[in-house]
């Protein structure tokens, strides 16, 4: 028996994969299955789950409503569709802005003197040592009507003798966008930096030697070779932004509700786990679809993950 095991590579492989498979099963497959089961159920009047097989929750998410103003039996309610599309748009915008901000910074760090690189990277990482929620609250302090930003602008305007009414910045979609960009910036900087840093200096010299100026070297050599970092960063940023609810909760208030907030409220405030589960699954499917098409076009950024 033992002898057979020693000689059989595929048996060894199965054996070695066993613990991982077990964890995956316990921590992912079973919870996912339960979520699915619950999402097909219905909420009882006192907030319990009635197990059934109905698509009502999904229909509701995509706008089917029986609560219609002029006595119709059913009508279209855009509330949840709007939340879904708002989340998707915000995730796209956040990812795009984060790429635009992170790339030059990562480039700067990668091309700076080796002695200083570690210090810059350290500075990128410092904010991550503070709790996520506390950092979002810090933005609240900056953005609110009596916040630091308004105080400074007001002070300057006062000096210039221009009348100034403090800007309403908090509880706007803009505030949520700023918060998201801030929170997820390091997750884009690091993979892009890694891929840029791996580009050998002789490649830049070779490009120059063959007649390419700095701009064309960047377009033809630097950018393509750093794409794995951009792809890896995009995956690291897009997926969490789609699901997070803390930033929109604190900086968006009741004005900016995302899928994450919807799910959280269904489970905690509305006590409707069936609808919350349906929303969770839809969020997951949406994220998977976007990631699928994205990675099919650009790959997974394997080189970065491997490094």
């Amino acid at each position: 028996m033992l002898q057979r095991f020693r000689e059989n590579k595929s048996m060894q492989g199965t054996f070695l994969a066993l613990p991982t498979t077990l964890w995956l099963f316990v921590l992912l497959i079973i919870p996912l299955f339960l979520t699915m089961v619950v999402s097909f159920g219905q909420r009882s009047p006192d907030g319990d789950v009635i197990y059934s097989f109905s698509f009502d929750n999904y229909a509701r998410l995509f706008g089917y409503s029986t609560d219609c103003p002029d006595g119709q039996a059913s009508c279209f309610d855009s509330l949840y569709v709007n939340i879904l599309s708002r989340s998707l748009t915000l995730a796209f915008n956040t990812t795009l802005i984060v790429i635009l901000l992170a790339y030059p910074l990562a480039y700067f760090i990668a091309r700076s003197h080796p002695n200083r690189r570690n210090m810059f990277l350290f500075m990128v990482l410092i904010p991550l040592w503070t709790n996520f929620v506390i950092r979002v609250y810090a933005w609240m302090m900056l953005l609110r009507k009596e916040g630091a930003i308004n105080i400074v602008i007001g002070w300057v305007m006062n000096l210039l003798n221009i009348p100034y009414t403090p800007l309403e910045m908090l509880y706007t979609p803009g505030a949520v966008l700023v918060g998201m960009v801030y929170e997820f910036l390091p997750f884009m900087i690091l993979p892009i930096y890694t891929s840029l840093e791996k580009i050998d200096n002789s490649l830049y010299e070779a490009a120059a030697d063959l007649g390419a100026n700095a701009f064309r070297t960047f377009l033809r050599i630097t950018l393509p070779l750093s794409m794995p970092g951009v792809v890896a960063g995009t995956i690291l940023v897009f997926i969490p932004v789609m699901g997070t609810f803390i930033v929109s909760d604190i900086l968006g208030g009741r004005q900016v509700i995302l899928v994450g907030n919807l799910i959280q409220r269904q489970f905690l405030d509305a006590r409707d786990p069936t609808f919350g589960s349906a929303a969770s699954l839809i969020l997951m499917v949406m994220t998977l679809i976007v990631t699928y098409f994205y990675t099919r076009k650009f790959g997974f950024g394997e080189e970065i993950i491997a490094a």
Partner: protein, 371 residues
């Protein structure tokens, strides 16, 4: 081509700051004139300034002092992409995200060449380095030798006035390296382009070059043809660095023309007719260099040869030759003997403490400055 010289370095100095904050002359007042169509090598151990010199010609570094001229024109701070020289890098520096074709076409695209023109020229370049049919491969899918050829083709397709090669064969195994040496030399003769070749391998430099600059500590020690460098090294450094040398201490007794009579205490003899590398004066203390292959182990001396008794320390059989290390009155000498006859009998080899007779011709020695 307007100038006689493809590249000229005039009194070039390149200073670097070491990590300790000291100033270092990586290239120290170097003057070189490299002729059009010449295969020119810069030879030296690491840190001798050869690569820095090459990088200044390419435009990756700028001289701290002095000036580099390409085709008679001062280069100043002209960036690399505006110089009509191309480089083959030590690491090849191939673009991994491009195919072989795209790699070679890159330089032509930067010139704004037409697509049909690019196709034709890339095809010809591939033919030149015998890689036709590999267009669509990625550099990773090629062997080391093939990658090296792509690097050469990528540089040559631009038809540069001067091709710079920075230890291009360093990563290849010995056999392939020797093949590529001959191939590169043939390519250079066929194209008639000036090659400037940086290497630390003296055999490589001797094999390929029309002229060699032997460098050390940022300075050119000697700039001459391979034969001159080997047979008439100008100082002890060159005599020792290129090939091997036995050095014997001596004192000049009499000078006549280019030759001298030298008293050599170790040999307990005065030897007439030794050639001189520089100007010497009577009574000057000197080093006499004798190449190991120019000493013969013999029963009898021919007319005019000196004859000396020595004791064998070790004898090393290396196939084509036997290296004999012998003690001559306290000085260790190396003697090289070709194995012209196949011998299997162990007693026919030299053994430790065997007394042998060494013979050499005075004209095969060289008097060098003692340093």
């Amino acid at each position: 081509m307007t100038s006689e010289f493809a590249v000229e370095m005039r009194d070039v100095v390149k200073k670097f700051i070491t990590p300790e904050g000291n100033e270092l002359n990586a290239v120290d007042h170097v003057t070189m004139q490299i002729k059009n169509g010449e295969f020119f090598s810069m030879l030296g151990s690491s840190g001798c300034g050869k690569t820095t010199s090459l990088r200044m010609i390419a435009g990756f570094e700028w001289p701290t002092e002095g000036e580099v001229y390409i085709e008679g024109k001062s280069t100043g701070h002209t960036p690399p992409f505006q110089r009509k020289v191309n480089t083959v890098f030590q690491s090849y520096a191939l673009f991994q995200h491009m195919t072989v074709f795209q790699n070679i076409a890159f330089g032509l695209e930067m010139e704004g060449a037409k697509e049909s023109e690019i196709k034709k020229r890339v095809g010809r370049a591939l033919e030149m380095v015998q890689l036709t049919g590999m267009e669509r491969r990625r550099p990773r899918q090629l062997s080391g030798g093939q990658q090296q050829r792509v690097a050469v083709a990528r540089a040559l397709v631009k038809t540069p006035d001067v091709l710079l090669l920075d230890e291009p064969l360093g990563a290849l195994d010995l056999k392939l390296r020797k093949e590529m040496q001959l191939e590169l030399k043939a390519l250079q003769q066929q194209l008639g382009i000036t090659f400037i070749y940086v290497t630390h391998d003296q055999e490589e430099a001797l094999t390929m070059s029309d002229r060699i600059a032997v460098m050390s500590k940022g300075r050119v020690q000697q700039l001459a043809t391979p034969v001159e460098i080997y047979e008439r090294p100008v100082n002890k450094f060159v005599a020792d660095f290129i090939g091997e040398s036995n050095f014997l201490e001596g004192k000049i007794k009499h000078i006549s023309g280019n030759e001298a009579l030298v008293h050599i205490p170790v040999l307990n003899a005065e030897i007439r007719g030794m050639p001189m590398s520089n100007n010497f004066v009577n009574g000057e203390e000197v080093s006499v260099s004798i190449r190991p292959e120019k000493i013969r182990i013999a029963e009898q001396a021919a007319k005019g040869e000196g004859l000396f008794q020595a004791k064998v320390l070790t004898s090393v059989y290396i196939g084509s030759d036997t290296h004999v290390y012998a003690d001559l009155n306290g000085t260790r000498l190396k003697v090289m003997e070709q194995n012209r006859i196949s011998r299997l009998d162990p007693s026919s080899f030299y053994t430790k403490d065997q007394v042998i007779t060494l013979v050499f011709m005075p004209e095969n020695t060289l008097i060098l400055k003692k340093d």
